[in-house]
């Protein structure tokens, strides 16, 4: 019997007659508010003035044109990765390794820029972006092949490939690709100037990657709602048996989902290398590929939601840096906010399908008499 029959607990979760449309929209904002409240409590507990901390965390970083540029700059890789992941997750394909695909995109795109940058002339920027996309796709092709051929779990394969990609990058910048003039620092030569993505606005660092990300958000919305391929991916995610019934190929869905998400993650990687970083170094991402998983879900797997959620997540990164500098809080405060956000989001999601109901204790039933 359900535990509730024995424990006099005054609240009970009750399945709603149909999912709540209001909660569907409000679960993400509610989670963000709860995260904020938790953060302020933590600041208070650490002996900081919560109001001042709030200002340092959320207001100061974006109170200049440069700051807003940074917000958009950090939102770019998050948005790129999360757009691909959202399509993936809607199709019930669980790519957890966007971080690895991002890293591979940085390697392939960066490699093309380093070795062919001079030769490519005007074509260097399209070429390195394309190489980044292809690198991400190639890395995502491994879990796609293993899943569709051998039914291995794409969750584990894509996750483990993250570490392989990071070690590969580390090997390259410590070894063959190390800048001979770099005083033995583990980093490559700087990318040639014509390979670097120019800032959109003077005094900021945000580049064309952000525009591409916004265009891809629109494209992804169109793909999901208007194309037959997008429709097939949604059916595959919602009801695999219905997909089999209608003759929708599971294998094709898996490949498409992983190619799209691998490609956007690879693009995110090369946009970082050809943008703010300007060279290859052992670490090219502070975990954008993992944070993008949270972004995808906070955005409710919808392109518009992903755009907004990536801005929120970017603000958390900026706030974390600002808090580190001005409040002498540890860098992990960003991680705390991210974790709290995901935690509250999962909790709020429950209330889409369920509601909390107070139960009065029933007077004991009269004993059954035969």
């Amino acid at each position: 019997m359900p535990l509730f029959d024995y424990i006099p607990w005054p609240l009970r979760l009750e399945r709603r007659q149909k999912p709540s449309a209001a909660m569907r929209i409000w679960s993400s904002p509610l989670a963000a508010l709860a995260m904020l409240a938790t953060g302020l409590l933590v600041f208070g507990a650490l002996g900081k003035d919560p109001v001042a901390a709030f200002r340092v965390f959320f207001i100061e970083p974006v109170s200049s044109v440069y700051g807003i540029g940074e917000l958009l700059l950090k939102a770019t890789p998050l948005m790129l990765c999360a757009l691909g992941l959202a399509l993936c997750y809607r199709a019930n394909v669980w790519n957890i390794g966007a971080e690895g695909q991002l890293t591979l995109g940085a390697i392939t795109g960066g490699g093309v820029g380093l070795f062919y940058g001079a030769a490519l002339g005007h074509w260097v920027q399209p070429a390195i972006l394309a190489a980044g996309v292809l690198g991400g796709m190639a890395w995502a092709a491994i879990p796609a092949f293993l899943r569709s051929r051998f039914r291995t779990s794409e969750i584990f394969v894509s996750l483990m490939l993250v570490y392989i990609a990071q070690l590969l990058l580390s090997y390259l910048v410590h070894g063959p690709w190390r800048d001979p003039a770099g005083q033995n620092f583990p980093q490559s030569q700087p990318l040639p100037d014509n390979a670097l993505l120019a800032p959109l606005l003077d005094g900021t660092r945000v580049n064309v990657g952000f525009i591409i990300a916004l265009l891809l958000a629109g494209l992804s919305w169109w793909f999901g709602t208007a194309t037959a391929a997008g429709f097939r991916m949604r059916v595959g995610g919602l009801a695999p048996a219905a997909a089999a019934y209608a003759g929708i190929s599971e294998r094709r869905n898996i490949w498409l989902a992983l190619m799209i998400s691998g490609g956007t993650a690879g693009l995110a990687g090369i946009c970082e290398v050809a943008g703010p970083i300007g060279m290859l170094q052992p670490v090219v991402s502070p975990g954008y590929g993992f944070a993008a998983i949270i972004v995808a879900f906070v955005g409710r797997l919808h392109p518009l939601g992903v755009v907004l959620a990536s801005l929120l997540m970017s603000a958390l990164y900026l706030g974390g840096e600002s808090a580190q500098m001005e409040l002498q809080l540890p860098a992990s405060v960003s991680g705390l906010f991210q974790g709290a956000l995901l935690f509250y989001l999962l909790a709020a999601e429950l209330f889409i399908g369920f509601r909390l109901r107070r139960v009065r204790r029933a007077p004991a039933a009269p004993p059954a008499s035969a």
């Binding site: 029959d5 007659q17 037959a228 391929a229 009801a239 019934y245 003759g247 029933a362 039933a365």
Partner: protein, 518 residues
């Protein structure tokens, strides 16, 4: 409230029960009395309020108004657990079974008292044998067919020695012999003083089995009757409010072969499934062939082999319109004119969270709902609207999600969608399982019209009455083997019953005719 001043109070009495959902009155001042040892039928179409009323009695939902008396004492039934403690058991139409657990574990979950596993298994065996409901306590439930799951449910209820047993459409998946056994069981239970609330739309059964019938229509009691003294027509009139016309199957000369299975053998992917052995079958244009048999005898495998959800290695084992399709996937087979209505409506025949319009896109690529890789949503909505209108689907427009429809309405929609996609060969599994009388009639008539329009129709069903009503030829699937398809005329129900046990040698008088016809 007036109560009968009889010396023994009724086992269950409902007084003025009302229940409203947003905008809908599901139950409107319903009075109902069930005496001890009485088999009481509750008749009504889908949406008449039967399920809501039974959920109230079983404590799943709570009435807005009205009172309940149990053996003369007023009670408030707050939960199913309390209902079970009172002595009320219920066999649901949609089974609440945990697929990852065994039969015994599922049953243990629903018992108020804890029993050691061995003792429980022994009791399950005892009850299942006593009541002719074979189930293996150690078997995992996830691969079980609808019919087998229902057996688990019935056994689960009987184990609790209920004083009132609610049965929601219990016979829809049983063989005629099993129905006889179940009726004997129910009569024996009634003789032991157990009251039975019997929900069904099978009027013959109700007239044979039940002492009293309460008929619901639009949430109200539209009449009570002694079923024995009524005809099917008069009961149906009380239930539907109008006269029902019967399906008519005019004899018709069959056309060329459209679907042909030749020595089809196929293993099963399911550890508890039944592989197919040497299946031979021909379905002609303008012919309805029915396949009878209890679920779990290879039905799932046969459907998958014909629909293309599973591919066969043997070349030529499955032919559509003369073309070998053994290695074509479902979409490719659809391009050759195959349409399919599966047994599971939600999750296979339709995507739960998607709109009806999107659910037309699911199989409607051949009807121009997809062009140049793009979904034509305007065309899809028009297609959905036309399907809704033509098949009288009750729903909130073509953008309503599929899971907002009742089972019967969703089935009408899926059958309608597939028929409007102009089948050459139509494959239908359990066309009217759990569907009310009016909708069943509409679906059966639609299949007959389809046959008259020259389509080849193959119906796989556990409902023999239905197969006898709409099929030109009947075959039986038992233990993964298929009997010859025999013209329905001159085929005895009992013969089919024997064949369902796998004994095809016990040929009825019609066996010789079969070869002449094919």
């Amino acid at each position: 409230m007036n109560r009968l001043s009889s010396p023994t109070p009724p086992r269950l009495a409902l007084h003025g029960i009302s229940k409203r959902y947003a905008g809908v009155v599901a139950n409107d001042r319903i009075d109902l009395q069930v005496a001890a040892g009485e088999i009481h039928a509750l008749l009504g179409e889908n949406g008449a309020g039967k399920s809501t009323l039974m959920k109230i009695v079983y404590g799943v939902t709570h009435p807005d108004e009205g009172s309940i008396e149990w053996q003369g004492m007023p009670v408030v039934i707050r939960s199913p657990a309390q209902a079970r403690r009172l002595g009320i058991g219920m066999v649901f139409q949609h089974f609440s079974i945990f697929e990852t657990l065994t039969v015994a574990e599922n049953i243990a979950l629903a018992l108020n008292d804890r029993l050691p596993a061995a003792a429980l298994a022994a009791r399950i065996d005892e009850v299942s044998q006593r009541y002719g409901l074979p189930v293996d306590p150690q078997r995992l439930t996830h691969g079980m067919s609808v019919g087998e799951r229902q057996r688990v449910e019935i056994v689960r209820c009987l184990l609790q020695s209920p004083r009132l047993l609610i049965m929601d459409e219990p016979t829809s998946v049983l063989t005629p012999q099993a129905v006889r056994t179940l009726f004997d069981t129910l009569r024996r239970l009634a003789g032991e003083g157990v009251s039975i609330l019997y929900i069904s739309h099978k009027l013959d059964e109700i007239r044979e089995l039940c002492d009293v019938a309460t008929i619901l229509r639009n949430g109200r009691v539209s009449g009570t009757a002694i079923p024995r003294e009524q005809s099917n027509t008069s009961l149906a009139r009380m239930m539907v409010g109008t006269e029902l016309k019967e399906c008519r199957l005019e004899p018709r000369q069959p056309g060329p072969i459209r679907l042909e299975l030749t020595n089809l053998s196929l293993g099963t992917e399911d550890p508890f499934g039944t592989g197919l052995r040497q299946i031979n079958l021909r379905v002609h244009a303008g012919q309805i062939v029915g396949i009878a048999g209890v679920s779990g005898n290879g039905q799932k495998e046969l459907l998958a082999a014909i629909s293309g959800e599973r591919l066969c290695e043997q070349r030529g084992a499955v032919r559509l319109c003369g073309q070998d399709v053994a290695r074509l996937n479902p979409a490719q087979r659809r391009h050759l004119g195959l349409r399919f209505v599966p047994e599971e409506r939600l999750g296979r025949g339709a995507v739960p969270g998607m709109s009806l319009s999107d659910n037309c896109v699911l199989t409607g690529a051949t009807a121009g709902l997809v062009r140049h890789g793009l979904v034509r949503s305007g065309a899809a909505r028009a297609f959905a609207r036309a399907t809704i209108a033509e098949f009288a689907v009750k729903c909130d427009g073509e953008l309503a999600p599929a899971d907002s429809l009742s089972g019967g309405n969703l089935q009408k929609f899926i059958v309608g969608r597939e028929i409007r996609l102009v089948p050459t060969v139509m494959l239908v599994a359990q066309p009217t399982w759990g569907v009310d009388v009016g909708a069943s009639l509409l679906i059966r008539q639609a299949l007959i019209d389809l046959r008259d329009a020259g389509a080849a129709v193959l119906v796989i069903s556990e409902d023999l009455d239905e197969l006898f009503a709409i099929c030109d030829c009947l075959a039986v699937l038992a233990g993964g083997r298929l009997s010859d398809a025999v013209p329905r005329a001159g085929l005895a129900l009992e013969t089919v019953g024997v064949w369902m046990t796998g004994d095809f040698q016990a040929a009825g008088p019609a066996a010789g005719v079969a070869h002449a016809a094919v």
